[in-house]
Each structure stands twice: as C-alpha cells, then as structure tokens.
C-alpha cells in the first residue's frame, strides 16, 4: 500500500542503522510513547537491531491498557442492563474486569456490539429508539475527534438515547509525570505521531525545554521508527533538546485545528486515573456540561466500585520506563494475554502483550533454563 510499503525497505533500514552505529558514543535511554509504536518495534525487532548503547523503553501510550479497572467494571455494570446496547472498539472486549470481560457478558445475553467507528452508533441509536445506546469512549487525543463528533452529531440530530462512557487520556501530562519521577530513566522521546496529527506539537515544546529532553514526533513504520531514533540520537549526542518532526507527511506543527475545535467544544480537561500509574492531574477529558445528557456516567449513576490489582504485577513501572516485561516474575507464566494480571498485558499494544506475541517469553524461558542448567553443572 502506498505510504506504508516504502517505509519498510530493508536496505534503507540498514543504512539508518549504520548511521546510528557511527554516531553513538555512550548509552542512551529512549522511550516510544505510543502503544502502536511499541507493537511495531517488537514486531520488527527494531530494539534488537539497534546498538547495545541505545535502550528503548516502552511508554504508557496504550489507552486500553491504562483504562482504570474501576472504569471497566462500570462499563460492565452498564452493559448488563437489559435496555442497553453497549458498543465498543474490539480491543476492549477481552479486557477482564473484576468479574469476566465484555465477551463473557455477551455470551450471557448482553447486547454488546463491536464497532469500527463511533459514528456507527448513531445508526444504531436511530434504529433502536426504545434502547439506550452507550459507547465506551476510550483513547488518546487521536480518538477524541471521532468520539466528540459522535456526541456532537447525536445532540444535533436529537438522538437523546445515545451516550458515551468517557475514559479519555492525554499524552503530554503523562510524559511530564514520567520525567518528574525521581526514578526516571528516559533521556529522549519518540513522540506519538497520530496524537500529534490531531494536536500538533506545540504543547511538547515546553516539555522538551523544561526537562531538557529531545522529543521527535515519529511515525509507525520501521523506517519511521529508525529515523526517529536517529534524530533523537543526533540531538542527545549534540546536547540539544528540541521538538523535531520525523513524520511531516502527516503531522503539522499546529495539528488539525478543526478537530481540536470540536474536541474542545465537546470535552473539557479533567484529572484522570491511569491503570498501573495512578491519578495524573489534567490528563483526561470529560464531557462538557452542555453535553451532560449524553454522559453515561451521569445517566447510569453507577456507584463507586472498589477494585484490587495484582500484588506481583509491575506494569506501573513498565509504563513509566523503569522496568521491562522480562523483569516481572509473572511474565509469560502466571500472566499471559489469556490471563492478564495487569495493564501492560491486557491489550496487544501493551509492552508485555507485544513481548509475548512475538515469542520473547520463550527467549526468557531459554535464558532461565540455561541458567538453571549452568547452576546444576557448576
């Protein structure tokens, strides 16, 4: 496909790698922010192609992963109600709450539908005036314009039986929280290309300046990720800390103004709890008062739900780049995509799930087995 295939060229990848090897003089830790980038990096083995000096740690940019367990339980409580058609992106179906997942609820008779786009909810709401149609509106800034438009159009078209359960998260406050942590290891970022297609990258400039970290807005294909790494490395080696754009075919500095305008008309910034990380000030969206009739949390008044996370899971540290999936004793054994213990295993874009999908738990097992063998022999 045009604009995808040419960014997977092996020969060009080799020359970027050669340039990276030539430039690097000391160890550096880079974080890719977006879960889609994590998935690409692990799928193509980009982290293993890089010289040992460059370590990629995986950021918190998987919205399914960081959706708080309480919110998932709320979604399930709403989906169980008999007059509800509960709609969701497919990624959310298998994420376990305190009592099973959405697929289990569906098998027990709940009307749960997987949608490609929230705009499809409007048709469902129109065709089912006696039902309450609820969309599970999760995502980063990339998804906010789509979710905002569904509410805006429902309101305009008088579809008062449509509401959304909002669990939106925002990237820049999470990056700032990572950098403020005393345990922080991150020295540069590959910024989230599709978030910035919507929001632009002006708001990243104060972060780069304040924390003196390079931020390179980066795409999702292997050559994009390698070139983003090279650009960040050039800055680090030269002592620069700027926002650069590796992905100009899609990202402009000002972003998409008309999308930003509708998003801010429908949503307002609020504090948000991130699974594995905790509450981050001003890191989410909620519906504005003018659209409260479409706010599922208000309509269904689900009581506060108490939840408990696994004691073993280290996903909070993985999401902040402090540790890697292999550092967790439960990775690939007690914790797998079928039985996830925490945030980074629940969605394919989580770091643990990506490591598992591409066989890295097997590598971990081999190393462990080898160590055991050596211990026996010695």
């Amino acid at each position: 496909m045009k604009y995808l295939d040419e960014y997977r060229d092996e020969s060009l990848a080799k020359s970027i790698l050669a340039e990276i090897r030539r430039l690097v003089t000391r160890p550096w830790v880079l974080m890719e922010v977006c879960g889609g980038q994590t998935h690409s990096i692990v799928k193509y083995g980009i982290d293993r192609l890089l010289p040992d000096e460059i370590e990629l740690v995986h950021g918190p940019g998987c919205p399914v992963c960081v959706t708080a367990l309480e919110m998932i339980d709320k979604a399930h409580a709403i989906a169980r109600q008999p007059d509800v058609i509960f709609c969701s992106f497919g990624d959310m179906l298998r994420v376990p709450g305190s009592d099973g997942d959405l697929l289990t609820l569906k098998s027990r008779g709940a009307d749960i539908r997987v949608l490609y786009s929230p705009i499809d909810c409007l048709k469902i709401a129109r065709a089912n005036p006696d039902k309450k149609v609820v969309f599970f509106a999760i995502g980063f800034e990339t998804t906010a314009p789509a979710n905002a438009m569904s509410v805006f159009q429902a309101h305009k078209q008088g579809l008062m039986n449509y509401s959304i359960l909002v669990s939106h998260v925002l990237v820049p406050p999470a990056m700032a929280a990572i950098l403020q942590s005393p345990q922080n290891r991150v020295q540069g970022f590959l910024g989230p290309g599709h978030v910035c297609a919507v929001m632009g990258y002006e708001e990243y400039e104060p972060i780069a300046a304040q924390f003196h970290v390079p931020i390179v807005i980066t795409g999702f294909e292997p050559l994009d990720l390698l070139q983003g790494t090279l650009m960040a490395l050039r800055q680090l080696e030269a002592g620069r800390a700027e926002v650069e754009n590796q992905y100009p075919r899609v990202v402009r500095r000002e972003g998409n103004r008309s999308a930003q305008q509708l998003v801010s008309e429908v949503f307002e910034v609020c504090d948000r709890k991130w699974r594995g990380v905790g509450s981050i000030p001003n890191s989410g969206y909620r519906l504005r008062r003018e659209f409260r009739e479409h706010d599922a949390e208000r309509i269904f008044a689900v009581r506060q739900i108490d939840t408990r996370e696994s004691d073993i899971c280290i996903s909070g540290e993985i999401l902040r780049g402090i540790r890697k999936p292999h550092d967790c004793p439960a990775f690939g054994t007690l914790c797998t995509p079928d039985h996830p213990l925490g945030a980074t295993m629940v969605s394919a874009e989580g770091a643990c799930a990506a490591y598992f999908a591409y066989g890295r738990h097997l590598a971990a097992e081999r190393i462990a087995a080898q160590a055991r063998e050596e211990a026996v022999l010695s």
């Binding site: 604009y3 060009l12 705009i119 075919r249 998409n256 509708l262």
Partner: protein, 94 residues
C-alpha cells in the same frame, strides 16, 4: 489503538444529515470515511484514517522529501562504508 492508515478518496458525498463522508480505498478494501475534519480533502487525495475519521490529508511533497532523504542516506552510506564484497574486490585487485 492509535492505528491510522492512509486511504485514497474515491468519491465524496454528504450523508442524509449533512455529514461530509467519502468512500476511501485501503489497498483494495473500500470503506466509508468521515471527512468533517478534512474540509480540504478532494477525490484522489490520500487521507490518514483512524476509526473511520480522516485526521489529515497526507502531504505528498513531504512524503517524497522524507523518502528522498532516506534514499540519499542510503547512497552516502554505500560510499562511506564499502560493501564487504566491494571491499574484498578492492583488496584482490590491488
């Protein structure tokens, strides 16, 4: 989740409620796409699509420039770091 892919606009048409929609081709698969956020998009343009919404028109000039920069690096790389076969040939002929 933030997956977005480029699709080529085949035909633009408003839906019955005046929402600007289009049919877009993704490597042979044609899907409906909302163009409300890309008023500048025209038939034949590539748009970057996420969950059924075009988030921007792909900038063909920028795409060509990025790709050319990578190509140039590839050629410079070959000059700076001779391929093993070329290096071996250079040794045997000298």
């Amino acid at each position: 989740m933030c997956l977005a892919i480029p699709g080529k606009i085949v035909e633009i048409n408003d839906d019955e409620h005046g929402v600007r929609m289009a049919r877009a081709n993704f490597g042979g698969i044609v899907k409906q796409v909302c163009l409300e956020y890309t008023p500048e998009a025209r038939a034949g343009n590539y748009v970057l699509v996420h969950v059924g919404f075009a988030l921007g028109v792909v900038d063909e000039a920028e795409a060509a420039q990025t790709y050319q920069a990578l190509k140039n690096m590839d050629q410079l790389g070959e000059l700076a770091y001779p391929q093993p076969e070329a290096a071996a040939a250079a040794v045997t002929t000298s």
